[in-house]
Symmetry: none
Subunit: 190 residues, 4 copies
DNA sequence: AATGAATGAGCCTTCATTCAT
DNA sequence: CATGAATGAAGGCTCATTCAT
């Protein structure tokens, strides 16, 4: 007897449930108990797969990183020019936040509840944001190919900051007008 | 016999200790027990002053709002022009984050660990940010007095977004170069 | 309303129950859960009185030390001479072990399950045994007043070793003949 | 293909690791998990060799009995006379305790954490001690060949008690002077 | 002979809150 | 205005054991 193809392993089920709960309720406000209960697993099963809650948290953020990047790239890859891709990132932001009920970014949320910079979760968080930053850098370099490295860096960083600032205030106010303003500023930079 | 002037009431002592701990450790990760212990108060004393942890949280954010605004205004009020005041807000941001060991903004941090938008803490948070936003609006209106309301709004919002985006990435990366980029963009807008 | 005189405080009830269970089942094999359940207390109540299981363990050993010493002194104080007191200690040993179902000595038992010599419980244990040793020393000095300090020390130590060795083998074999042999040797030393 | 001679079977590896851990940490404080992890075995492997933790405990004590007896006999067999062998047993005690960091006797330790006299582990323990007792009996009979059986028994038992009492107090106080006293008393008995 | 996922009771401890004094 | 004992659910984690492969 082989497992049915569409059945997840217990480990994956746990990660899936945890992803939902960590995002919706926050990392610290979500207990292992709730996770395993909703995943239909036993305590021992959980700890045979993850040596601690933190390890699950890391698995969650790694998975989230992959998923989120996939969403974003699927959204912007159809665009032809680097410029439209950059603008597309901000369009994606609006779409994403609406779909997510303005819960914000799993990575920023977790950073905010994790003061210790040396914490392993923080490493995943900064990696995630660094990769987004790199995307802005790459697209900016392509779009502003004639400008100097320094000018490119200034613009890419500004785009990244605008993205993050808009994101956090969409979460705060659930008001999409922030996005309109940001997009206007973005086009001004391109 | 009146209390000596320099002695805080138990209530104020509790708020003071809570402010430190909520900010440093996060709201949810800080327990009432630790607060009253460090404040030298009894359980019952705490609950005679605050009907719940949330009420203390609100008192904290209200006090924090006043304190933070005071810091900011003391920093920018000596500046003469609205332009230098706006730039001053970003200088303040750098100073503040360094002093705070890059722990970020108490309000954003608490928002990130509080998913429910209807939560009473969230009201204090949006009030705080709205007031900062208003400050950008007022200073922009003064500086760009000749521009239209719509143009002013665009610029003020952009400044606010830049502030928030820089703040959150200073917290994430502890790298002040984000601030340099933001300031360059700010001056470009003025 | 004052408490009835014969009612123990929750704290004392916990210690009393713990004393029974720690002795009968061993320190590590007895859980806080069982203790509070049998004492009719809540988890939180326990931890408002003791900051950890270890602290309860120490309270237990301190109380046990007092109780056991009281038992012993009540048994040997009626005896007139130091010699009969020393022999009395060994009579007490037999009585005690029979009453205790040959469960042995709470202090030795706990020492054996606590490898770390720096452990706080180990301090209580060595204090307890040191005091018993002192008793042998004092009674020996009185009985053998004409002998040298060195000779006295040799005899007192031997008596202490005989006591401990007999105790542990009574526990092991539940065979009182060890005690008869020890007593014969004891009298030979006096 | 046969296994290389110097490779232990999984079963023996498990026993070897368990021996170390049970002795150092105590029987109840050592979990199956740690044992199999340090032995590089799987859960199922463990339970295919031992039907329970207790069975491993028994295997451990049986192996320990053989090992310890081997140590002791190797130490005293070179001695020529029964008297020097008896004294040698006490010299061995000092050597052993120093090598073992004064962790005491695996058998006594396990007895102390195992209240139930009917427990299978307790059988191994009393067997071990009985055999040591027999050794004292045999050597005493040889040395005091002219004395009566009853006198021999009295002396052998005293020697055994002295050994056990010294052992337990070496463990308690890590103070070798107990051993000096015991040896003086031993020689007085021979 | 060996694997390792799965179980669920139990470990020690902290949580926010209530209440009699 | 203050005290601190009492509550019981929940926190993260380990336990010895089973079983399908």
């Amino acid at each position: 007897m082989t497992k049915p193809q569409n059945s997840l392993s217990k480990r994956d089920e746990i990660i899936e449930v945890a992803s939902k709960l960590f995002y919706e309720q926050g990392y610290h406000c979500t207990g292992i108990q709730q996770i395993i209960q909703e995943a239909g697993a036993a305590k021992g099963t959980f700890y045979s797969h993850f040596k601690s809650k933190e390890e699950l948290g890391i698995a969650w953020l790694k998975a989230r990183h992959a998923t989120w990047n996939h969403w974003l790239l699927q959204f912007i890859n159809p665009k032809k020019t680097p410029k439209s891709k950059i603008v597309g990132i901000f369009d994606f932001l609006g779409q994403w936040m609406q779909d997510a009920n303005f819960r914000g970014c799993a990575f920023l949320n977790t950073m905010c509840e994790t003061p210790d910079c040396e914490n392993a979760l923080r490493l995943e968080i900064s990696n995630h944001k660094r990769e987004l930053f790199e995307l802005f850098r790459a697209l900016t370099a392509e779009h502003h190919a004639t400008k100097t490295k320094i000018e490119q860096e200034q613009i890419a960083t500004t785009l990244f900051i605008l993205f993050e600032g808009t994101l956090i205030q969409l979460q705060n106010f659930q008001d999409l007008s922030f996005l309109q303003v940001a997009k206007k500023q973005v086009t001004a930079l391109l």
